[in-house]
Symmetry: C2
Subunit: 545 residues, 2 copies
């Protein structure tokens, strides 16, 4: 039997487009000689469909999509993920299902059992878990259909669920496992994925076809990297990352286990490619082409600009240099150098005149009061407004340039440098932004060296440096990583050797700045814990604050 | 036996403050002759604690809080809600528990079974459901402890769960039910609450003590209205709304069922009081005192200002009138009239000079291009920046004045009139804003009559009216209500008699403006479906858009 793995990029709610793409894939798979084609999780409606699932009309459209696909299942069988209605009145109204389509009909449906409800996942919000498990017979083989998380409850020290769906299916003697996934990228996720697939092979000893989404849905990036694994544990094939791909495998060859198709990665290459895809799909799926970015001469906006140019093409990125009276000479030069390196359209729009008109206007209110954060924020906000005005006039999307370190501690101005439709590097700590810049420069200077080597500064008052008001970034980022990604509390952090005063200060800054983060753009997620939908914190809380 | 119901206002993560408040309540209850005092759900840590629950340190503090309360349980028993650790390795790490404290010890713990995971609730994100149910014996009585949702799975046409915890407890012959709740307000919620309590009494025929939170936690308002119900179905007492209250009841009297303590409400009174508490607690719990609001002369900012003044005191509300060249004369007069009616500090800061300095600055870019939404947004954003500058300088929080209708269809400017720390009327449709204004004026003019009677206008271009670009509000709001609150799709709406073109246009506007709503301030929730944490929509979706 020949089995096609179809790792494709879907668009949430775009049933017509998604079905068209799957029908084309069916034709490709047939040409590749496939008897069976496997798509990933919830491909009719895209993933995650979120509260669209609460609309009857939306589920009707998903059912129609499955019916259309079923009609194409004559010379080939199709496994596809789609929501299905729960006929039992008690419990949630829907299941997250794998459909087996053949001979023009729905031959079998297996629901998802383990419903991730943590971090960015809300599946128990919508779905009832499966309570029945059945293999599917096809051309003399017995197929165990599982959906994503269903194979993730083994090999963990702290299992999240009490059931293991493959344990339920094994007594029916399946010949192989198909797993329909929509497993979002993080720069460590490919390791977890291989670990869990490995644990399944060890326990069940049958081939596994792990079919993942690729493509970005606002903050979530799906990296693909679908896996075909032999019963002896060898990775028969690993599909490319961040690309659509349809490949057909002989089940016999997979069973033999003679091939090793594993890929090499580095953290920075993965982060780079994930963000590029994140930008590309955000624009493409919203129907936009052009981005506009405020370029300061600093490293954050430089890295953001390069990522945007790689995602959208240099001709679709416009940058605006907006020096104030506190900007250093090298800032404008560094920014111009980058724009020239990339051949970008750029404008120089100094903010001083507008700044002065605000100060004139507010003189009656501010008379006699000292320069403080107000005037700093004002500069940042004027820049934000200029970008927004240009985006309104010319149809760009403003890209946000904040990094994760500053988003964490609130070192940014709401409605100023925190504005924009999408946060490009908001899940990349400042120390990682430097690494990313080095990675970008590996084949020659793209980002001006001076942008990388000079000390970070917001340049909102004379001779300002980030280190005036923040700890050095290597220390700050280490604390943030432990607190945010690793969920270590103050006690654990102090035990690790971090200074107690510093720990308390940093954790307090993170917690009191939640009000800023709730108002910022969605952040392209590249780590295992990003700000946004996956980290839900009270605003009026009084914990560590 | 005398039972005290303690309906109190807690602060998320403020263990010290919460415990202190409960210890004082214990003393009050003792003075009232109580043998038992009942608190609401998760009172040690406040509700909802959200992802703070993922920190070991946070759970340690909750356990310490329970231990401290246990020490105070010598002459009185205490029922209190707090998270507890799951000793079983499989499943979620925590339970949402009711503790029974007496004689200085934890005598019993009953976990919550039904974990709401819909709308604003994420409980299965954190908690494992109970799988054991035990009554507690105390002074010859048998108590069934339940937590919030545990009593909500009966009497529904479409039950969300397969289990009914009280059905599990009834074979143990409980004498009465205590329900620890944290049930957020909506203007119809008191009806649902009474309906469900009624269904429980009919089915189980024993007294019920329903203990709810009061107080606001950013977007969620808890209205109190705790209930004591007799076995004959009579509402023995209903505690006040939006106020702390501790009352002690003789169980014998409750059993007799001779009293009827139900309260009267009106929708507008409830919405008004909920928002006032929402503002008050947002400021109080964050440690702020003063609000600043942009006053346009229109109804939204007028209603917001009155609500703020009632929450914070007139002396703590500063308003800023920011006319542009497109503002009508009556706008300034209407705004001034309101400020004078309330005796508020106000500033007049015309935006024209700053607007012109932006237009001068951007002349090279905008030369020859027509006035469009860019220039409209610019005016709104200058106003936002002036408010933010004043708030930075003087320590105010900017209150957002957007209503639900405009938030729905994107009729607002990001970083302009959509700025602010808290959205006060963002869950109130425009037609309801008018009703709220009438309600405020019921005992004499507070909001100038002209503000109520003139046609709504953004005044961002000459002679602009909202109805130039939007359907009339009564039609718009009717469609929005069906789509947002009732989750009716296009087919159902057209069947209801709404014009097809209008329906498609409105639904499209709602869906394509999700990118704006994700960046706005938290909205005080007063309806059964507010924008924000309870409505989770894709941004790059292509559904009805």
């Amino acid at each position: 039997m020949n089995i096609a793995v179809a790792q494709l990029n879907f668009h949430i709610g775009n049933f017509e487009g998604n079905v068209k793409k799957m029908l084309e894939a069916v034709e490709t798979a047939k040409k590749q000689g496939a008897d069976l084609i496997c798509f990933s999780e919830l491909t009719t409606c895209g993933y995650p469909p979120r509260d669209f699932l609460e609309f009857d009309d939306f589920i009707d459209l998903a059912e129609k999509a499955v019916a259309t696909l079923a009609k194409a299942s004559h010379d080939i069988a199709i496994i596809v993920g789609s929501p299905s209605r729960n006929p039992v009145i008690e419990g949630k109204d829907l299941f997250n299902s794998a459909y087996f389509l053949h001979e023009g009909e729905i031959k079998a449906v297996q629901h998802k059992t383990l419903l991730p409800t943590y971090d960015v996942f809300d599946e128990y919000r919508y779905f009832e878990p499966a309570s029945e498990w059945n293999i599917v017979e096809f051309k003399g083989k017995r197929i165990a259909m599982t959906v994503c998380e269903d194979i993730w409850n083994i090999g963990n020290e702290n299992p999240l669920y009490k059931i293991c769906p493959m344990d339920e299916l094994m007594p029916q003697n399946p010949d192989f496992i198909v797993n329909l996934s929509a497993s979002p990228f993080s720069y460590i996720h490919h390791d977890s994925r291989k670990h869990v697939v490995d644990a399944n092979i060890k326990r069940y000893g049958i081939p596994l076809f792990y079919v993942n989404h690729i493509g970005a849905q606002t903050e979530l990036v799906f990296d693909g990297g679908s896996l075909v694994v032999s019963p002896n544990g060898k990775l028969h094939d690993e599909l490319p990352y961040f690309e659509e791909c349809i490949r057909t495998y002989s089940l016999g060859d997979v069973v033999k286990g003679e091939k090793d198709g594993s890929q090499e990665n580095t953290k920075m290459a993965l982060i780079h490619d994930a963000i590029v895809l994140g930008i590309k799909d955000y624009f493409g799926k919203l129907g936009f082409k052009k981005a506009i970015i405020g370029l300061s001469g600093g490293i954050d906006s430089a890295v953001t600009t390069v990522l945007a140019a790689r995602a959208l093409g240099n001709e679709n990125v416009r940058v605006v240099l907006m020096p104030s009276q506190y900007s250093s000479d090298h800032s404008v030069k560094d920014a111009e150098d980058l724009a020239k390196n990339l051949g970008l359209e750029y404008d120089i729009v100094p903010v001083k005149s507008v700044y002065e008109s605000y100060m004139d206007l507010l003189k009656p209110q501010f008379e006699g009061l000292a320069f403080n954060v107000t005037e700093e924020n004002l500069q940042a906000r004027i820049r934000g407004m200029i970008l927004m005005a240009m985006s309104n006039k010319f149809g760009h999307i403003v890209l946000n340039t904040s990094n994760k370190s500053e988003a964490a501690v609130g070192y940014g101005t709401l409605y100023g440098d925190m504005c924009g439709g999408l946060s490009v590097i908001g899940d990349v700590y400042k120390t990682e932004v430097f690494e990313l810049a080095e990675y970008m420069n590996k084949d020659g200077e793209v980002i001006p060296v001076n942008t990388i080597t000079k000390p970070p500064s917001a340049e909102l008052r004379p001779n300002q440096k980030d280190s005036d008001s923040l700890p050095e970034y290597d220390v700050l980022d280490a604390v943030l990583f432990q607190y945010i990604e690793k969920r270590q509390g103050p006690k654990e952090l102090i035990e690790m050797g971090f200074d107690e005063k510093l720990v308390k200060r940093v954790l307090r800054l993170v917690n009191i700045n939640e009000f800023k983060r709730v108002q910022t753009a969605p952040v392209i997620r590249v780590s295992s814990k990003a700000f946004g939908m996956g980290r839900r914190m009270p605003i009026v809380g009084k914990y560590l604050s």
